[in-house]
């Protein structure tokens, strides 16, 4: 056995318990989602369904209106991500590149906002949006979530911006580009990995966000995915694990698709600091 193979085997051996811990819930979820209701509450439990069925998915989708929740969540998460990124990019540029009075105070202020739990602010926010007549408005939730995720997005984008050499922009200025042109043609294309990573994190945060969505969207029709899943457990006399797991499984799909599509950027983005 070559030393390399040996090392690989040892690593896999050490990591396999972790792999099990990570994969087990996912597999349980999948197996339960594919099991008929009649098969779940039986005395002799089996790991895999005897007759795999897709009826849980159909039921969640049609009878429980989960399709609607998915659409709401997509709208809100994409909206919150776009809004966060659109504001974070110029803000991060200012933090990374411009020298202005109160720059440090601005940095610290952003950090401090992250130390306050959103839960603490929820009642105040609810009253604010009630005052503005925006309760039940998905756009209100987009605004509220963006406000919470913005500071993180700015910090993360700014730390990526810091890794882009200043000379590149200076070279563009000397080549005759104005500040805005240099930003758009030289700086921004180089920062796409960082922005993609930030967008991904913001999207996931927004996708999983529960408390704000529960508070601001009172109407069943405007529930988001996490709220809809929570309501699957609490509204009936029995807990329909088969439906919950089918819904949860569906909830993971959009995130997985987005993750896979920008994974190339993600790896580049996260490893950039080490490579440079």
């Amino acid at each position: 056995m070559s030393p390399k193979l040996k090392r690989s085997l040892i690593c896999w051996g050490l990591l396999s318990p972790i792999v099990v811990v990570i994969l087990f819930p996912y597999l349980t979820m999948l197996s339960t989602a594919l099991t008929a209701k009649s098969e779940i509450f039986v005395f002799e439990k089996s790991w895999f369904p005897k007759v795999p069925t897709l009826e849980n998915f159909a039921m969640v989708w049609t009878e429980r209106g989960f399709g609607r929740a998915l659409a709401n969540s997509l709208y809100i998460s994409i909206g919150a991500t776009l809004l966060s990124v659109i504001v974070a990019v110029p803000a991060a540029y200012a933090m990374s590149r411009l020298h202005f009075k109160g720059r440090n105070a601005y940095r610290i202020y952003l950090l401090i906002t992250q130390m306050i739990s959103p839960i603490v602010l929820i009642i105040g926010l609810f009253r604010l949006f009630a005052f503005l007549g925006m309760v039940n408005s998905m756009n209100a939730l987009i605004a509220a979530q963006s406000a919470f995720f913005m500071a993180f997005a700015i910090w993360m984008t700014a730390s990526y911006f810091d890794t882009v050499p200043k000379e590149l922009e200076e070279a563009a200025w000397l080549d005759g580009a104005g500040k805005f042109t240099a930003f758009m043609r030289v700086f921004l294309p180089l920062c796409l990995p960082g922005i993609a990573v930030t967008a991904l994190f913001t999207f996931i945060n927004s996708w999983n966000e529960y408390a704000l969505a529960l508070t601001l969207l009172r109407d069943n029709a405007s529930h988001t995915v996490p709220v809809a899943i929570a309501f699957l457990t609490g509204t009936l006399y029995e807990i329909e694990w088969n439906l919950i797991m089918a819904a949860t499984f569906m909830a993971t799909i959009p995130v997985a698709i987005i993750f896979a599509s920008i994974q190339r950027y993600l790896i580049r983005g996260l490893s950039l600091g080490g490579v440079k």
Partner: protein, 362 residues
């Protein structure tokens, strides 16, 4: 191309002053090298000429135009950065043509310019490549191409060769110099490498601590350094310094080292004031001869510590007068460590500096 005039320029970062009343006048078509140790302000001065740093005091003129408050994109100067600063997401061709596109030049004009530049710099095969696919020397060449394509009023170089290995560095030195002879564009070149300064410059500006120490042609600076700093900075190996005192009696002047060794000094007028003056003599490694001796009694005997043979010449480090003296002889001299040698200074070639302020005395 254009002349560049830097007049009484000062630079502050907050309350800290990094440039003090800097005055340089660069003729058009001239190749001027700013040289000095790191932190001396040479790069700051260059960046002020480029417009990348604000001017805290004084004036900078490009041609007849005052450019203190002109933004970099309107200055019409091109800069080659130490890191090359090639746009990583653009091909070599796009990198070179970026400046022309920013100036809305026609595609025909771009094509002609690209052809010309790639011929001058031998970039023909590389045009479709990305910067990461290029070697250091090739990147350097693309950076040069990006600068020359737009035919600017002046080139600014910020330590462009410091990322290259020694062989490539000397090759690019010749290439940049050749390019300047061909294009004749006013150039300001920043380096901390005195060899680059000596070999490339029409004139050298030696800077130290935010001030200009001396301006002149390489030979002027080498032969007549205005002070001890310039003398020690230029020339390789560096100049040897011996501390002591001058004793002048009529037309007879001698330098007495702290070890009471006496050296005859070429006397000149006004020497009278220098009697009993504490001084330092500077003597280049090429102006010292070593002769092997047997006797330890000789007054000027030293001991060889290290010998470096380059094949054509010999560089020796000798313990003499309580310090290390570096000697370079233009031939192969077979010495060995611990050997006793007689150390003779060619006093006609010696430089004399005031021990207190470092200014030249002879």
């Amino acid at each position: 191309m254009s002349s560049i005039n830097v007049m009484d320029v000062a630079k502050f970062y907050g309350s800290q002053q990094v440039l003090f009343d800097v005055n340089v006048s660069i003729e058009h078509g001239e190749f001027v090298v700013l040289v000095g140790p790191s932190g001396c302000g040479k790069s700051t001065l260059l960046r002020m000429i480029a417009g990348l740093e604000s001017v805290s005091g004084g004036e900078i003129l490009l041609g007849d135009e005052l450019i203190n408050d002109v933004s970099p994109q309107k200055r019409d100067v091109a800069m080659v950065f130490q890191t090359y600063a090639l746009y990583p997401h653009m091909t070599v061709e796009e990198n070179i043509l970026f400046a022309l596109k920013m100036r809305n030049q026609s595609p025909q004009r771009c094509e002609v310019a690209l052809k010309e530049v790639s011929e001058i710099l031998g970039l023909g095969d590389l045009l479709d490549r990305y910067p990461k696919q290029l070697s250091g020397g090739q990147r350097q060449r693309v950076a040069m191409g990006r600068a020359i394509v737009r035919n600017p009023q002046a080139f600014l170089f910020d330590e462009p060769l410091s990322n290259l290995d020694a062989k490539l560095r000397s090759h690019m030195r010749t290439e940049i110099r050749g390019l300047h002879q061909r294009l004749g564009t006013t150039s300001v070149y920043v380096t901390h490498d005195q060899v680059e300064a000596m070999t490339m410059a029409d004139r050298i500006v030696v800077m130290n601590g935010g001030r200009i120490e001396q301006i002149g042609t390489p030979i002027e600076l080498y032969d007549n350094p205005a002070n001890k700093f310039v003398a020690g900075f230029l020339g390789s190996p560096t100049m040897n310094f011996v501390d002591g005192e001058l004793r002048v009696d009529g037309n007879d002047a001698i330098f007495v080292s702290h070890q009471e060794k006496k050296f005859q000094v070429g006397a000149h007028a006004n020497m009278g004031d220098l009697d009993k003056r504490r001084a330092t003599i500077g003597i280049r490694p090429q102006s010292i001869t070593l002769t092997p001796v047997d006797s330890q009694d000789d007054e000027l005997v030293g001991h060889v510590r290290v010998v470096e043979q380059t094949g054509s010449e010999t560089i020796s480090v000798v313990d003499f007068l309580d310090s290390e003296i570096i000697v370079q002889s233009p031939r192969r001299q077979l010495l060995h460590p611990d050997q006793a040698v007689r150390v003779e200074f060619d006093m006609a070639a010696a430089h004399m500096f005031d021990a207190q302020n470092g200014l030249r005395l002879n």
